[in-house]
Amino acid sequence: MSLLSVRDLITEFESPSGTARAVDGVSFDVKPGEIFGIVGESGCGKSATCRSILRLFGGASARIANGRITLEGAGDLAQMRERDLAQVRGRDVAFIFQDPLSALNPTMRIGKQIGEVIRRHRKASRAEARAAALQLLRDVHVTSPERRLDAYPHELSGGLRQRVVIAMALALRPRLIIADEPTTALDVTVQDQILRLLKERCDSLGTSIILVTHDLGVVSQICDRMAVMYAGRVVETGAVRDVLDAPSHPYTRALLAALPGQVSRDSQLIPIKGAPPSLIDPPAGCRFAPRCTFAQPQCTIGTAPGLHPRPAAAEGHFDACILNEVSHAAA
């Protein structure tokens, strides 16, 4: 039983140099109350994937070319008309952006910005919305919340701003919060506080989180399940413990080997050679093959391999390496 189910999602971005498939056949599920992590390098499509869910593409000309995004009780978000999706946004699914300074309107007071989401979905007077905003600021442990209601975003610190953004996202107790690198723009010292706060509030409200990050340490700390993305595709997914303790896809393994010791136990850091492929004209076969130390001739032909259960793996642990598939078939 999943809260959100994404199937075969393809999202394309138009650019002067061509059409880039930032998301190419991504599938995953988010269960009620769980924290689902999506990790990968910059440009791997993790951000595009979660922006596709609410169709928030900023100024970019992007479109969902294929796939279903089923939210329990709401239907297929990918097919939904814009005005129906607007009902889902903020009420059922909320979004937390990377940089809280640019995510807040610079010329609008904090209280009004929080109140706006309440007044959009519920009948509430200005005073009621303000009172609700005040309570929300208290819930996210903002100090002297009465004063902050009338502050402008630039008058707050980075950590406070992200608390405001979280308060805004939690305002209507959504069932799912999509957090796109919520701590990347913050000081290291506040990153941990913000993540704890997010987890604590969502645990108490039963809200699921999709946490997009490039920080495997964060994933190992607070996520339940995870997906590793590379060049627009999910290459490995499963419970966090299974994936991080027994990574099966060469990319996941390389990613862990390239990390300082907190996650991987290897003392030596091994960089991944080369760069991710172009998403406008991706290579045939496995997209990681050109950088993969285990690559075989059959890796670079045909279509990109899909996810399959790895041999002798824990339940729900899948990867997309055909070499694992072969050994599985042989066994």
């Binding site: 609410l54 607007a86 952006f97 309107n105 706006e116 989401v117 979905h121 630039h154």
Partner: protein, 311 residues
């Protein structure tokens, strides 16, 4: 806020001293004798001498400058030779018409620019955006004097909708009378505003907080009216400020063609009749207006954008 404004007003003093010096010296460098220039060739030597005495032309330069400074400080800005009136009285007579054109043309400009900027931004890169841009390029490229005559020929003479020029009595009469001159001035303002507002709208639409607004579930119109438009209009304030200070002294051609007795036509008349004190006084007056308009612009900017603080 009050402190910042008083500080800015105090900073006016050195600026004004500089302006009076420059406008005083510029007229000093002009070749020839101001008295004979003013009185023409038929004046007798005695009359010329009397004139020089009256103007203190025999006195040292710095004394003359101090006389001029005294006139500026006491608020008369000197005496007009031609009108035989204090210059400030001439300005007071004509300022309302110039300010009327300033206000009227800005309203017209906003009414024209706003819808076209929004339309262009919403269709950026498409045919409609390009067509609108080309139309405004043509508008900017049209010389104002030519546009004045086209409008007079077409809307005033052929259609008979407007008077060909002059001003009427009272506010209502002048809404019709000042429409054509304000339209000519307003069209170029509109082109400036349209271009900058279009760019500002496109920039704002890409901002993260617009995604935040949409993520709250706000509908397109709500996002536009509450978040995109207000934040984009801030940059328009400075454009209007620059235009207003330009219009105050820069509508010479339009005022002349439509026989509007504003500051621009006062200046041109003074130049034609070699009324040097008027030219000098008006220069200082225009400079003061520019500084004041800039201050008002900055205050509006600080009020509109909480991140900006008045220095």
């Amino acid at each position: 806020m009050f402190l910042a404004i008083s500080k800015r007003l105090l900073m006016l003093i050195p600026v004004l001293i500089g302006i009076t010096m420059i406008s005083f010296l510029l007229l000093q460098i002009m070749p020839g004798d101001p008295a004979s220039r003013a009185m023409g060739t038929r004046a007798s030597p005695e009359e010329l001498q009397a004139m020089r005495e009256l103007w203190g032309l025999g006195k040292p330069l710095w004394v003359q400058y101090l006389y001029f400074l005294r006139d500026c400080v006491t608020g008369s800005f000197g005496m007009s030779i031609f009108h035989k009136q204090p210059i400030i009285d001439l300005v007071a007579e004509r300022l309302p018409f110039t300010l009327a054109i300033v206000g009227y043309s800005t309203v017209i400009a906003l009414l024209i620019a706003l819808p076209f900027a929004i339309l262009a931004a919403a269709n950026r890169g498409r045919m409609l955006d390009n067509v609108i841009r080309q139309i405004f390029v043509v508008v900017v490229a049209m010389p104002p004097f030519w546009l004045c005559y086209v409008l007079i020929l077409w809307l005033a003479l052929r259609m008979g909708w407007f008077a060909t020029g002059g001003v009427g009595d009272g506010f209502v009469a002048n809404i019709g009378r000042l429409f054509l001159p304000s339209l000519v001035v307003g069209l170029s303002t509109a082109a400036l505003i349209q271009q900058s507002l279009r760019a500002a709208l496109i920039d704002t639409m890409k901002a993260d907080y617009i995604d935040t607004a949409r993520a709250k579930g706000l509908r397109g119109r709500e996002v536009f009216l509450r978040h995109i438009l207000p934040n984009s209009l801030i940059s328009t304030i400075s454009i209007i400020g620059v235009r207003v200070s330009w219009i105050i002294g820069g509508t010479v051609v339009v005022e002349k063609i439509f026989s509007v007795p504003g500051l621009g036509s006062l200046l041109i008349d003074a130049i034609v009749s070699r009324d040097l004190p008027v030219i000098r006084g008006l220069t200082v007056f225009f400079a003061i207006m520019v500084v004041i308009v800039n201050l008002i612009t900055d205050i509006c900017y600080a009020l509109a954008d909480p991140r900006v603080r008045l220095e």
